[in-house]
Every structure is written in C-alpha cells, then in structure tokens.
Amino acid sequence: MFQGYLLSLTIWVPIAFGIAVLAIGNDRAPAPTRWTALVGAVLGFLVCLPLWSGFQPTAEMQFTEMGSWIPRFNVNYHLGVDGISMPLILLNSLMTVLVVIAHWEVVTEKVGQYLAAFLIMSGLINGTFAALDAILFYVFFEAMLIPMFLIIGVWGGPNRVYAAVKFFLYTLLGSLLMLAAFIYLYWQTNGSFEILDFHEVALGFTPQVLIFLAMFMSFAVKVPMWPVHTWLPDAHVEAPTGGSVILAAITLKIGGYGFLRFNLPIAPDASHYLAGFMITLSLIAVVYIGLVALVQADMKKLIAYSSIAHMGFVTLGFFIFTADGMLGGIVQMISHGFISAALFLCVGVLYDRVHSRQIADYGGVANTMPVFAAFFVLFAMANTGLPGTSGFVGEFLVILGTMKVSFWMTFLAATTLITGAAYTLWMIKRVVYGEVGNARVAKLHDVGAREMTFLVILAAAVLALGVYPKPLSDVVNPTIHKLLAHVQQSKVQ
C-alpha cells in the first residue's frame, strides 16, 4: 500500500516524529518524550526494511517518486535509490535508533530538543541519499547543518561553541560552491536539475575540472580529506556521544557518496585527470593522520583521527577506478559506520561513568567491566581490520584493487594495517588492560540492559558483514559496474 511512497516515508516519518517530540518535550517528565522518539526512530527503521527486501539487484534507480516542486525552474521532488544509496539509508535509520537508545539516561537537559534534532536530521540525511534532483539534494544537504550545529553547540563539551561554528562554516563554504556548480549544470542541460541528466550532459574539459573542484570542496570537507579535516576532531570531541555517532557513521559517508553520485559521473575526464591528486590526499590521510592518531591522549580524538584515516581508504578506493577498489570503498563506508559508531558509543559508556575522555584517566577497565571490555576489544579489533570483522573486508578489497594499479601506492596504503593496529591496540592496552588505574575505575559497574542492546546490535552487524559480506556486495556491484563503465567514457566532445 505504501509501496510507491517508501522513500518519502523514510524521510518524513522521522521528521514528523521529530516535530512531535519537539512539541511534547518536557524536561521534568521526559519519559513520554523519550518513548515517542524511540517509536519514531524504530518506525523510521522499519519503513526502510522493504527497501532492502524489495531491492532488485540492478543498477537502475528504484522506488522512484516524482512530483513537481518548483515548476518554474524545473525543480522536482524526485527520489530514488540505487545500490550505493540504499544501504546508506538503512545504515542511517539504524543509527538513529541506536542514538535514541544511547541517550536514555544520559541526556537530561532539553531532552525534547535533543531528540527532535536527531530525528529531523535522520530524515534529512535519508533525503540527501534519496534525492535525484540537485536542488532537492542541496536542500537536504544544507538543512542537515542546522540540527547538527545545534547538537554540537548545545549538548557538546566545553569547547562546543567553537567546534560548532567551525563545523558549520567549513561545510557551508564547500556546499555553496557546489551550488554554483549545480546552477552552471542547469544551464548546460538546458534547464534541468535532474542529477541523472547531469550525468549525461557533455562538458568541456575546463568546465569539468572547475565543477569537479567546486564539488570536491563540498564533499572533501564532509569526508573529510586532508587538509580540510581540521573541523572533525574538534566537532567530534565536543559533540555529545550521539552527535559523534551520527557524524562519524553517517555524515562523513555523505562526502563519499557525493563523490560517487556527483564528481565521478558528472566530470569523468576531470576525475581521471585529478585522480593522482585525490589519491595523494587519500594516502596522506591514511599515513599521516594515522600517525597523528597515535599520539592522541583523548579517546574521542583518537577515534576521530582514525575515522579520517579510514575515510582516506574510501576515497583511495574510489579514485583508482577498479571494481575491487570501489566495492571496497563502499563496504568500508558501511563498515566504518558500524565500527566508529560502536567505538564512540563505547567511549560514551565510559564517559557517562567517569566523565573523562582522557586515556590516562583509565586503566584496567576489564577488571571492573568485563562484559563491556569484551565488546570494546571486539570493536577495536574490527577497527584495525581483523579478518572476520567488517573492517577487514573493505580494507582488503581496496588494497587488492590498488595492487593492480601501483605497488608503492599499495605499500603506503597498507601501512595503515600497522599504524591502525598500533594506535587502537595501544589505546585498548592503556584503557582496558593492566591493573585497575584509579579509584574511579575501581568503582565502575558493568553495562546494563540498555547499553547491551546497542552493543549487541553493532557487534552482530560488524561480525555479519565481516563473515558474509555477499548480500551487501550483491546489492552494490551492479551499480558499481555501471558507474565504472560510465566513468570510462569521455564527456569531452
């Protein structure tokens, strides 16, 4: 019955519940607010499930919806998903549920606004992934900044305001240039904002390079790629746990998604021309940021830098133009979504008890929180790319794909296996193992049912994707092959 409106539902159900939560929000009796938010998040996730079950393994846009929005400029409410965007919508909706569960006993101030921000953002992110009209995409893409700005700035750590403003302005600068590129393409396609029309339109080499760079500004900030990554550690560290989870698990992926949806197909010649540049930046992220992560004293900062390094793998996989690399990049995006979310939630669990993110404030957590420690170590292992976890699949595929292109590139990329293991395991050693570090650690109590819920869900996801990634790759592969074939053809006439 809702078959024709599934994508709209994934967007508007969370937003509608977000508005409802905002309306009933009450700090003195927060229970109804919280339950409504949970119902909204779960419903939002449930309406995504038919997307997975009903997905045809082809490269075509599916579940499309089309409505006129601004006829004067031929802007349409055009939605649809392919093998790249569908898994990301699913990931996002799942994360929203986890974030709502995770906030439960932790956030006590302005609960309604907090939950509403997450629900509305969840809908907006789904819209970003589902939009097939450039202006629609842009509206969702930008509107997302508002709730995120508030989440970081209102519920974040001590330096939250600085981080929020930095996050906002960085992202805004990039996206406005992309908007200019969209308008240019509108005139080139004789008045269409359809992203799929953008894919087909012939463009000269110089315009392609300029369009590529304009969009690069926007998506590179989101990914984030070195050297425009500096907002991320600040934003992550200062954001509340839920904010970090959504930032790491979802919003970074929008950058990667943007490259696949916009840069590569719209400017294929420029993509090839600038591939060396992109690969260099990616490798710098992998190698240099990996080293930076090594010296962090703050757990969240460490995971933030680790995210940048992992996203470097994603962009590397995209710009070597092999099927393995691209599949690896996408799997890495999904996997990193689970792992980074899990790690941030783990830090959140510790932070809620001890109110410190400093590695030095912990030690021997395994003694007092054995169950938690088991999960934390599992996710840390996944982060280092241990076979059997989802982290392995993506990294392995990217390395495999890179090997076909260049040995030295592969060599540099593979250093992550060492640095990644080093920074993650060293953190684990100092936090989880050893003697009980101090009195506060000695008083810790292990995770409760609520915390178990999200840890178990994420652990299951990480292991499932690591052991049997085929369902995901079946969904993604047709789209990748189509995209690669498209990118091989020159648009210059």
Partner: protein, 486 residues
C-alpha cells in the same frame, strides 16, 4: 496629446492610492477628536490598521485587471505594481502591529506617527506605480519626508535627532542627485514619460553622452535610497538611532518600493542603456556585498549589524537586476519580498525582547533566549538562517534564483564572489543563534506579552519556513508579475 477629460475610468486604476490618501487625511482629522485618553490612542491605531487593510483589499481586488497606463502617462497599474503594493501594505501593517507596544511604552504611538506612516506608505505606492519621472520623484519624496519626520519624532533622544539630521541631509543630497540626473535624461530624450524615454533611447534619438551622465546621477540616487555601498553611510546610524519600530518601517517596506522604482526606471524606462547601468550596478553590488558582510562581523549592536546586513542584501538584490532579463527581475522581486519578511522577523525579535526602559538591541541581549522561550528562539533561528541563506528557508531560494539569473547572464565571477561573501555573512547570523541556544542568559529576559508582536513575529517566522519549503506559488507570482509588466 489627447485633450484632458475627466472620467472615473481614467482614475480608477489609481483607486488604492486615492483611498489611502482620503483615509489618511480623514485619520488626521479624526485624531484631533480622539486625542487625550490612552484608550483613544487605540482607536487611532485601529483606524490606521483598518485603513491599510482597506487599501490592501482594494489592491487585491484590482489583481487580474489588464495593465493600464493612465493619467496621461503619469501612472501605471499592472500586476507588478499590485504585487508590490500588497506586499508593501502588509509589511507596514505588520510593522505597526509589532511596534505598537514599544511605541506606546515610549509615548510615540501618536496620531502624528501613524498618519506619517500612512503618508509614507502612500509615497511608496506612488513610487511603485509611477510611470513618469515626476511621479517617481513625487512618491519618493513623500515617502522620504515622512520617514525623516518619523525618525525625528522621538524628540527626547539625542541619538534619534542626530540620526534624523543625517538622514535628512544625506537624503536631500541624494534627491538632488536624482533630480539632476533626471533633468539630464530629460535633456537627452526630450521626455519625462517612461515609455517615451524608453522609445527615444532604443531608437537612438537620444543624446548618448548626456544620457549616460544623467544615468550616473540617477543610479547614485537610487543606490542611496536602496542603501547600497558606497552610498550606505546613513544606514547604520539611522537604523541605530531611530526607535526600533521606525527602523523596521524604514528597513522593510521601502525596499519593496525602491525595487519598484528601480524596475520602472532602469529596467523599463532606460532598458536601452542596460549595458551602461549594468556596469554601474556591478560596482554597487560588489561594494555592498563586501562592506555589508565584512563590517557586520564587527558589530555588537544588533540594529547596526542588521543595518550592515541590509547593505549586503541590497547587494544581492542588485545582482538580480544586473542579470538584466525577466528571470533576473523576477528573482529580484522574489528576493525583495522575502527580505521584507525576514526583516519583520529580525526586528520583531528586538521588539519582542524590549520592554519599558530597556532596549534589547545588543546582540548579547539574545543570550539564552532558548531557555526563556523555545518558540521565539526557534522563530529567530529560522529568520537568521534565512538571512544567511540556508535551506529550507525562503532566504535560500531567494539567493538561489538570483544566483541562477546572474550566472545565466554570464557573470560567473560575481556568483563566486557572492557565494564566498555569503559564508562570511553566515558567521554573524550564526552568532545570534549561538547566543540564543548555546549560552546562559546574562540578565533577565522578558518576552513582550503583547499579542501583536508575538503574532506577527510568529507569522513572519512560519512564513519564512513555509515559503522555504514550498516556494513555487510565490515564485510563480513574481515571475508572472514581471512577465505581465515589463
């Protein structure tokens, strides 16, 4: 020329202006009898709003009538004029409703203020519908003189008096420039009527050199009235010095009238010289965007910050006109209407937080508003993001359509510049949001309990959001108005 005949049909198109004039004059008289007890001031206020409502209704009733030039070419009635007039009158109504409490607490809600507001509105309507240099000038002066007096009305305030003085002297200078330019164009083309000026210019019957000289003066005069840099110096002082409702009155509705003025004069009358005035407007737009966005950062007074923000927005408005085609004019019209809406919202918030003996005009006064009132903090949030041009608000679409038109006209570098400066602009709008949501209140915050302020502010905020999600109807109206009138 036809012989002068008088029939109702010839003046019927000017009915809104006639009705407003009659009602404003009647109000002046009625106010003499209503003077005295405080509740009678409410009567004057009610009559003023009723008069404006009647004018809006009459104008709405005219919509759909075919375009008509009447009164011997002095006056034009068309869809563009009607759209602008309805928007102007509604904006003035909103302004008065919002400012009522503030004015009353300061003893400014007098018959003088209200009738000046009505006469100013009449001036704006005449500007919008003018089809002749003299009518244009007449409307402009009627509006400007009313505004000078409104600023000066707060006699006890040295700041307001200084602002009025500055405004008057500089305004008179600008009027002089404008008149001088018009006289030169008259010399060059031999006519003051816009259609004939347009014909003379496009048929090459005009004296080109003299025409361009006249154009320089005319554009300078317009830039002054719009508040575009480098003719912007009066704006911060007047915005800051005037009582907030007066600032709102000067800042919102006259921008609509000024756009009408520009469209009539440049886009229609001097369309043969488009390439000339385009170059001048490019300079104005670039200066305005630079000055407005950059200097606004340094302001700690909200009214001054909004003044610089106005300058930046006028730069954007000029961009739409630079495009020089119907798309651009439609974009500028959409921009102006959105801007009036956002101005109501932003100044409305200042009025909302002001109380007897306290002006909430410093940015710090907005600290922690979210803790006091979630709803109004949210409204202000929407308006601020709209001014910054972030979707899903109307400010985004206003910027989008303007940029689209400019890019089509081939000014890619202007688009990039405008985009970069928008990021600078976002910084100071964000500062307000930041203070409202992320800081604890510095002192006591009170929200004006007066329903007028609250309602108009809420309506402005909600409309900002609604037009941001569904911009198509308003956009279509703007495009149709331009198509029917240009």
């Amino acid at each position: 020329m036809t012989t002068a005949t008088f029939s109702f049909a010839t003046i019927a198109p000017a009915l809104p202006e006639i009705v407003l004039l009659v009602l404003a004059a009647a109000l002046l008289v009625a106010d003499l009898f209503l003077r005295g007890a405080p509740e009678q001031r409410h009567a004057t206020y009610g009559l003023t709003q009723a008069a404006l409502a009647v004018v809006a209704a009459v104008t709405l009733g005219q919509m759909g009538d075919p375009s008509e030039v009447t009164l011997h070419g002095m006056y034009v009635s068309d869809l563009l004029g009607q759209v602008l007039k309805v928007a102007t009158v509604l904006t003035v109504m909103g302004t008065l409703a919002m400012g009522r409490q503030y004015l009353q607490l300061r003893g400014l809600l007098t018959g003088e203020f209200l009738s000046l507001a009505l006469f100013g509105t009449l001036g704006m309507m005449v500007m919008i519908s003018a089809h002749h240099f003299l009518t244009l000038y007449l409307g402009l002066e009627l509006m400007a003189l009313s505004q000078y007096a409104m600023v000066a009305l707060e006699r006890d305030s040295a700041r307001a008096t200084e602002a009025a003085m500055k405004y008057f002297v500089l305004g008179a200078l600008a009027s002089g420039l404008l008149l001088y330019g018009m006289s030169m164009i008259y010399g060059a083309t031999g006519s003051l009527e816009l259609t004939r000026v347009a014909d003379a210019v496009s048929n090459g019957e005009s004296h080109a050199m003299l025409g361009v000289f006249g154009l320089v003066f005319v554009v300078s005069g317009i830039a002054f009235k719009l508040g575009a840099a480098p003719f912007h110096m009066w704006i911060p002082d007047v915005y800051h010095g005037a009582a907030t409702p007066t600032t709102l009155y000067i800042g919102a509705a006259p921008k609509l009238a000024a756009l009408g003025f520009v469209l009539r004069l440049l886009a229609y009358g001097l369309q043969g010289m488009t390439t000339d005035w385009q170059q001048m407007l490019v300079v104005l737009a670039v200066c305005s965007l630079l000055v407005g966005n950059v200097v606004a950062i340094a302001q700690s007074n909200l009214k001054r910050m909004l003044a610089y923000s106005t300058i930046a927005h006028m730069g954007f408005l000029a961009l739409g006109i630079i495009a020089g085609d119907d798309t651009g004019y439609g974009a500028a019209l959409f921009y102006a209407i959105s801007y009036a809406l956002m101005t109501l919202g932003s100044f409305g918030a200042i009025l909302l937080l002001s109380r007897a003996g306290f002006e909430a005009e410093n940015i710090d006064d907005f600290r922690g508003l979210n803790q006091k009132s979630k709803w109004f903090a949210f409204m202000m949030l929407i308006v601020m993001f709209s001014l910054a041009g972030i979707p899903p608000t109307v400010g985004f679409f206003a910027k989008l359509v303007v940029l689209q038109a400019v890019l089509d006209a081939g000014y890619t570098w202007l688009v990039v510049l405008a985009v970069l400066l928008s990021v600078v602009g976002a910084f100071y709008y964000l500062r307000i949001v930041r203070l409202m949501y992320m800081e604890a209140p510095a002192g006591e915050i009170t929200v004006d309990p007066h329903p007028g302020t609250q309602w108009v502010l809420s309506i402005a905020g909600v409309l900002t959001l609604v037009f941001g999600i569904l911009p198509a109807p308003l956009l279509n109206l703007c495009v149709r108005a331009i198509a029917a009138s240009m």
